[in-house]
């Protein structure tokens, strides 16, 4: 599917989404409230069939936090990058995709653990690596009090 086709396809599902050609893969930016619907459609629709979630990354950009989904279609052997962002730093919440790709259950817990983004609808939103009282180390304003990383 070419970029134009992808653009029209995604616009037909979700007009608010932006499709751009990234450095390596087509990238789709979608508002957080429409994420779940678009993700479901991307997986279920046979023309995209994005059934394999390679990687789910959270990143902090000071004024907003992004979650980046690398999707692959095992049918068409294409990769697509789906992005969404949240502006809140106090209580960032995004919809979960773990009912669509079950591997997201672990990946979302990791993002929650390291960045503090909660995923609405996740069945088991606990911290994964760190203890409850720890801060969110991958946030840029995280203070490394015991100086583990920064020297």
């Amino acid at each position: 599917m070419s970029l134009e086709d992808l653009n029209t396809f995604i616009q037909s599902i979700e007009p608010a989404a932006e499709v751009v050609q990234g450095k390596q893969f087509p990238e789709v930016m979608v508002p957080d409230d429409r994420l779940h619907q678009l993700a479901l459609e991307l997986k279920e629709n046979p023309s995209t069939a994005m059934d394999y979630l390679i990687c789910l990354t959270g990143a902090d950009f000071e004024d907003h936090m992004k979650v980046i989904y690398h999707l692959e279609s095992t049918v068409h052997n294409t990769v697509l990058v789906l992005k969404t962002k949240t502006l809140s730093r106090i209580n960032p919440v995004l919809p979960t995709v773990c009912d669509i790709w079950q591997t997201a259950e672990f990946h979302e817990r990791e993002v929650f653990d390291l960045l503090g983004i909660r995923f609405k609808g996740h069945p088991d939103m606990r911290r994964l690596f760190l203890s409850e009282e720890w801060g969110f180390p991958l946030r840029k304003d995280y203070v490394d009090e015991v100086r583990i990383v920064d020297r």
Partner: protein, 372 residues
């Protein structure tokens, strides 16, 4: 046992803590098991005991320093990990490395895969109670580590690939040593089948155990040999070829039986494939430079870069978000073990404790790879 029969006996579920120190979790993985008698009802992996914050550390390291840390994640596929980082940086910089580098990297990756699978094989046997396999596997793995040591001085955490090429050229004796090893191991690999694969007890313990169909495998992102055993064609070497993989012909080991025995057999077949790949490359290493000189301070152009390689455990990805400075803004490792572990509960639910051990062993988990 039928439903009605079970109701008559009053039973109670109980919790068992398997790990963090347990012989078959191979590291500090802790599984909270909910058991009914011997039957596993729920597996809740608690990880993070060796979480070392590598992703956070990378944010304050320069690019050439990063491969040092990736070696320590999945220490059994150290070279694949560092190769992924190097490829990602090279792609971002638009640097084309000489063919010689590609060939040597591929040979190293495949040797590393062999070494990793050998260790997995001996540990798999040990988990199932056949302790002798452990020494057979280590005996052969030692030969590969000797080859590594001769060329780059290290045996486990190699740090041989650097952004732009290789740290050093190969040892003059490298070719002979690899040939010697291939001839040796071609005779020894059938021993593995004689000792373990053909054993009736082993087959009874693994056949039909932990069946995980193709849809579930894709859904849980289980990759590598574990995914391919369920018919999920996920070999990055085939689908997104890198380094010297476009120059070689090899079979992707696929199986559609989806059980523990299939996962075992796929790995054994991969060992044969790895040997064939090395064989195709070892005599054709082109002459040339072993590295491209990069600038003193490596700065990636602003943007996002994603690079995947096939590590011994599956689809290993490096995702770099660069803001144009000398260290990455955000760096994420997609480690195969992490996704594979996420499927452990679904895979082992309803099986016995002994099966859980076999299933876990067939997933080939390396804990630092999961915790990072």
């Amino acid at each position: 046992m039928g439903e009605a029969e079970q109701d008559r006996i009053e039973t109670q579920e109980y919790l068992v803590n398997m790990g963090p120190q347990h012989p078959s979790t191979h590291g500090v993985l802790r599984l909270l098991l909910k058991l009914e008698g011997e039957i596993v009802h729920h597996v809740d992996p608690h990880i993070g005991y060796i979480h070392s914050g590598i992703e956070k550390m990378c944010e304050s390291l320069t690019y050439p320093q990063i491969p040092y840390l990736t070696d320590r994640m999945d220490y059994l596929s150290a070279h694949m990990n560092e190769e992924a980082v190097c490829l990602c940086i090279e792609n971002a910089l638009g640097v084309e490395v000489p063919d010689r580098v590609k060939y040597i990297r591929t040979i190293f990756s495949e040797l590393q895969r062999l070494a990793s699978h050998q260790l997995w094989w001996c540990v798999m046997g040990m988990d199932l109670g056949a302790l002798t396999t452990f020494f057979y596997g280590l005996r052969d793995r030692e030969k590969i580590l000797d080859i590594f040591e001769e060329t780059c001085g290290a045996r486990l955490t190699l740090h041989y690939s650097i952004p732009g090429g290789l740290m050093f050229d190969i040892h003059p004796n490298f070719r002979n040593r690899v040939h010697e090893f291939l001839n040796y191991f071609r005779e020894k690999l059938p021993e593995y089948d004689q000792l373990l694969t053909g054993n009736v007890i082993f087959q009874e313990r693994t056949r039909g155990i932990g069946i995980f169909p193709r849809e579930a495998v894709i859904n849980y992102g289980v990759t590598g040999p574990s995914g391919r055993a369920s018919g999920f064609s996920c070999d990055v070497r085939k689908h997104h070829p890198y380094s010297a993989y476009p120059f070689v012909s090899f079979q992707e080991a696929l199986d559609d039986r989806c059980d523990t025995l299939a996962r075992y057999k796929v790995r054994i077949r991969e060992m044969w494939e790895s040997m064939s790949i090395i064989e195709q490359l070892i005599d054709n290493i082109p002459e040339g430079d072993y590295q491209v000189k990069l600038k003193g301070v490596v700065k990636l152009p602003e943007g996002e870069y994603f690079q995947r390689v096939e590590s011994a455990r599956g689809d290993f990805g490096v995702f770099i978000i660069s803001d144009g400075k000398k260290s990455p803004y955000r760096l994420k490792f997609r480690s195969p073990g992490f996704s594979n572990l996420s499927a452990l509960h679904a895979m082992s639910k309803g099986w016995k404790i002994a099966d859980l051990v076999a299933i876990m062993s067939s997933l080939d988990l390396v804990i630092p790879d999961i915790d990072r």
